[in-house]
């Protein structure tokens, strides 16, 4: 009897899966067009899956091994089951292979089952609690069914009772694993995930690459929407990316806004986008809600505005763009891109940037700095430093990009410390002075692409007049924007963060440093230096050169927690239960360090905003400047007299 039922079940499930796949693909295709190498992506997909994705998953060894066993066993078992039971190839070797595959899958499924016994809060429940049972049903049913094929049991063993039980098991298994895969069940992640890897919007991320710069809007194309209003305004491969989510909640566990009780949960956001692309409400979402927002009150469809339907605006404005979610995501989904896309619409079309957002953007337009300070005061911090201006010295080694820290008294100390270091190393450097403008970072993260592009093009025009080998800046935000986001507008430079540059100076023996004596130090990785640009080592090398042994925080390196200062979050200021910098300061306190070394004006401001008593906050440049053993003043004056010889 089973020989008739089985092929019917298998092929019916496959046909349903195919129909589901076409239906699902049509949902993705509601999105806007995107330039993707369709065939090349598909060909590259297996490698991306086996190498790049596995690389992320392997950070959690338990889950990586479990997934290899379950998914590997399933793929093998599915193919063999179709051959053996679907097409009736009752070959003994195939039988043994299928037994092995189902056994492997069974072992993997047991571990999935074990984890689901007491799942951490970041995991979604609901249908996901069913999945391990479905996996077990599939593997056990096919294992027993295959025993006669391998000749280990006589044909017809167990009579019709066992046959009926097995038929039910197979039905359950193939429902979940074959057509459940394309009809929005938990296994949807395998289907959408594979294609998402193939047609990812940042293909540069694969093969060890890095792609973190936001993609520009074409403001000259009047027909193109300014950002994303409705789910259908995303590109189709973004929609596909949302659909790939496995709801593992790694993003939720890493998100500083979620931990602070602000109404953002990256996992829920991605799932809301899935609701948006398929249509419906979020009532079926079985994970943690946005803090303070009950589940079941939001819904939408591809043609309806997202904000105030699917998602509330404060959810979007809670994000600090720290990229912790993207870094953690085993499916390599681009949460930050999606959030900025939706912010763009709110700012550019609705004029709805919350709190001080509108004022900051107006200031950027009118004064080129977010604080609205008179542009003529940009160099006041260096009034007594006799800095060379690019205008007077059109060809230098280092262009020191000062950034908007120039207007902030705390960060002026950092800038002055770094100038001291540059002078001690006798670097041929100059600043743009009053010709410098805000890099556009904040404007862009607040969704004001127009102001960003205006600032960027004018900065690029200014930079084009001068000759320099590299740009060095103390501000990771400027660093990121100059390095990764100006390229799209014709500005390609060698840009370095001051920590990287100082590490080079120290390596070259240009700095004469005494050992640091100020007490123990921990180091806070700025998001825009670390996760955005992969620079974890240079700041630590500089600290080592000062004789400092960094007392690492648990959340450091690529897992560093944001200070709360990125993405315009201090400007939009969405209330939560606690402040992000307070949480970060707790991380710092845990190490017992007396000082925390930072490399970012935003981090400095945010962390210094934490009430005392707390560890001291020191920029790396300040630590280096304090440790400098300076030359006698006489040697300095001789150098000043003969600049022509050097030039």
């Amino acid at each position: 009897m089973l020989t008739i039922v089985l092929p019917i079940l298998l092929f019916a499930a496959l046909v349903l899966a195919l129909i589901g796949a076409i239906r699902r693909m049509n949902m993705w295709r509601r999105g806007r067009p995107a330039k993707v190498d369709l065939l090349g992506g598909l060909l590259a997909m297996p490698k991306r899956y086996m190498v790049d994705l596995h690389h992320v998953v392997a950070r959690d060894k338990y889950m990586a091994n479990t997934h290899v066993a379950t998914a590997g066993g399933f793929v093998l078992a599915a193919v063999l089951a179709i051959l053996v039971h679907g097409l009736g190839l009752h070959n003994r070797i195939l039988g043994y292979a299928l037994l092995f595959a189902t056994a492997l899958m069974f072992v993997g499924a047991l571990f999935v089952f074990k984890r689901r016994l007491n799942p951490p809060s970041r995991l979604s429940k609901g249908p996901w609690m069913r999945l391990p049972k479905s996996l077990l049903a599939f593997s056990v049913s096919f294992f027993i069914l295959t025993l006669p094929v391998a000749g280990l049991l006589p044909e017809g063993f167990g009579g019709w009772v066992l046959a009926a039980i097995l038929a039910v098991g197979v039905l359950w298994g193939v429902s979940e694993l074959f057509f459940g895969m394309t009809w929005g069940g938990p296994m949807n992640h395998a289907f959408a995930g594979a294609l998402h890897l193939a047609w990812h919007r940042r293909a540069e991320r694969f093969g060890g690459g890095r792609s973190t710069g936001l993609k520009p809007l074409d403001l000259n194309d009047r027909a193109a929407p300014l950002g994303v209003e409705k789910p259908e305004d995303f590109t189709w491969n973004q929609l596909l990316g949302f659909d790939a989510c496995v709801q593992c909640g790694k993003c939720e566990a890493a998100c500083p806004a979620f931990a602070a009780g602000q109404p953002l949960n990256p996992k829920k956001l991605i799932q809301d986008m899935v609701v948006g692309l398929a249509g419906g409400t979020d009532a079926h979402f079985a994970g943690s809600p946005y803090p303070g927002k009950p589940i079941g009150e939001h819904g939408g469809n591809p043609h309806q505005p997202i904000v105030n339907g699917l998602v509330d605006a404060d959810t979007l404005w809670s994000c600090t763009t720290c990229r912790a979610c993207v870094e953690e995501c085993p499916m390599m989904i681009e949460h930050v891109d999606a959030i900025v896309d939706m912010r763009r619409f709110l700012t550019l079309e609705k004029g709805a940037t919350p709190n001080n957002g509108a004022q900051v953007l107006d200031n950027l337009i009118a004064t080129d700095n977010p604080g609205g300070f008179a542009p003529g005061g940009r160099m006041n911090w260096a009034a007594d430093l006799n800095l060379d201006l690019m205008r007077d010295k059109p060809s230098v080694d280092v262009l020191f990009w000062v950034g908007d820290g120039a207007f902030d008294m705390r960060n002026q100390r950092t800038l002055r410390a770094f100038v001291k270091v540059l002078k001690a190393a006798r670097i041929n450097f100059a600043v743009l002075g009053l010709e410098e403008r805000d890099s556009g970072d904040v404007a862009r993260r607040l969704g004001d692409e127009a102001t960003f592009q205006a600032l960027a093009t004018r900065n690029i025009q200014t930079l084009a007049q001068y000759r320099f080998t590299r740009i060095v800046t103390c501000d990771p935000h400027s660093f990121h924007v100059l390095k990764n986001e100006y390229g799209a507008f014709g500005g390609d430079y060698l840009v370095q963060h001051h920590s990287t540059y100082m590490a080079e100076l120290i390596d070259a023996g240009l700095l004469n440093l005494a050992a640091d004596t100020g007490g123990s130090v921990t180091y806070h990785d700025p998001c825009y230096l670390g996760r955005y640009n992969g620079e974890y080592e240079a700041p630590r090398a500089v600290l080592r050169a000062l004789g400092i042994e960094v007392k690492e925080m648990q959340r450091s390196g690529f897992r560093s927690r944001c200070c709360g200062g990125g993405g315009g979050a201090p400007i939009t200021d969405i209330p939560g239960k606690q402040r992000i910098p307070d949480m970060r300061m707790d991380d710092i306190r845990e190490t017992g360090a007396e000082r925390v070394a930072v490399g970012c004006p935003q981090c400095t401001v945010m962390l210094e905003g934490v009430v005392e008593p707390r560890p001291l906050i020191k920029d790396i440049a300040e630590l280096v400047a304090e440790a400098l053993i300076e030359d006698a003043p006489s040697t300095r004056s001789t150098r000043r007299e003969a600049p022509e010889v050097i030039a």
Partner: protein, 256 residues
């Protein structure tokens, strides 16, 4: 309730950088107009229609902005007056003082005088307009408010007591239309022939704080300005009262 409402706007200048922008108070006038008339608000500028800063007003969600083309140094009062008269406008909203040009703050007064309409300065809110009578909240110093009833048509100026202008968004700002009208130009004798010189900062009067306690300081900060000499007329007819007021105004040179 559709009252022909027009907001007069000028080109502003950012106080720190001097860069052209939407004028703060005029933007508040537009905001007040949008809250009152919505899409029916008509926004009018007399000056250069190609000034990019005008688009910042469109970014507040206006479909179009009307410009009476005028060169620098022209007297805009006559063209505004003629336009407002011909367009059948009932309510004119504007800022108290321009941020560029003469910035004398005289325009609303001259305009109201030439139109023969009442002028309300420093309005914080228009509460209601029923059958041609508006109920308006006027802002007084120290957070005080005065409720006034005025019959249409009239001119209103707003200052910083009026609600903050909404954010100007890029999308509507680039899409909005600027319709320019070529109109007669009246050269403003005063501003073209006069010699401009930088203003001298007036010496600041020393502030002597006599208050001994916080309560005294609070009282001093919130007390109503004490009235000077005055005359209280009681039990007189409206006619006699009006006569007395007119007499005073003529004495003071307010009415010529």
């Amino acid at each position: 309730m559709s009252i022909a409402t027009v907001a007069l706007v000028s080109i502003g200048a950012h106080p720190a950088s001097g860069r052209a922008r939407r004028a703060e108070q005029d933007a508040r006038a537009v905001e007040l107009g949008l809250e009152l008339a919505g899409d029916n608000l008509h926004v009018l500028h007399a000056g250069n229609p190609h000034e990019p800063a005008l688009r910042a007003y469109l970014g507040m969600g206006l479909d179009e902005l009307h410009v009476l083309e005028q060169p620098d140094g022209a007297d805009v009062v006559p063209v505004l007056r003629d336009y407002i008269r011909e367009a059948g406008v009932q309510l004119v909203l504007t800022g108290s003082q321009a941020e560029t040009g003469e910035g004398s703050g005289m325009l609303p007064y001259l305009l109201a005088e030439q139109l023969g309409w009442p002028l309300l300065v420093g309005v914080a809110q228009i509460e209601s307009i029923h059958s041609g009578v508006a109920q308006v909240l006027q802002a007084l110093p120290r957070g005080q408010r005065r409720r006034l009833q005025v019959r249409l048509p009239f001119v209103i100026t707003v200052d910083n007591a009026a609600p903050k202008a909404r954010q100007s968004a890029y999308g509507p700002a680039t899409r909005g239309l600027i319709n320019a009208d070529v109109v007669e130009v009246t050269v403003d004798e005063l501003s073209t022939t006069g010699v401009l010189q930088p203003a001298k900062p007036r010496p600041k009067r020393l502030k002597v704080i006599k208050a001994k306690s916080a309560a005294d300081r609070m009282k001093a900060a919130t007390a109503k300005a004490a009235g000077g000499s005055g005359q209280v007329l009681k039990g007189v007819s409206a006619e006699e009262g009006a006569q007395a007021i007119l007499k005073l105004l003529i004495e003071e040179g307010v009415v010529r």
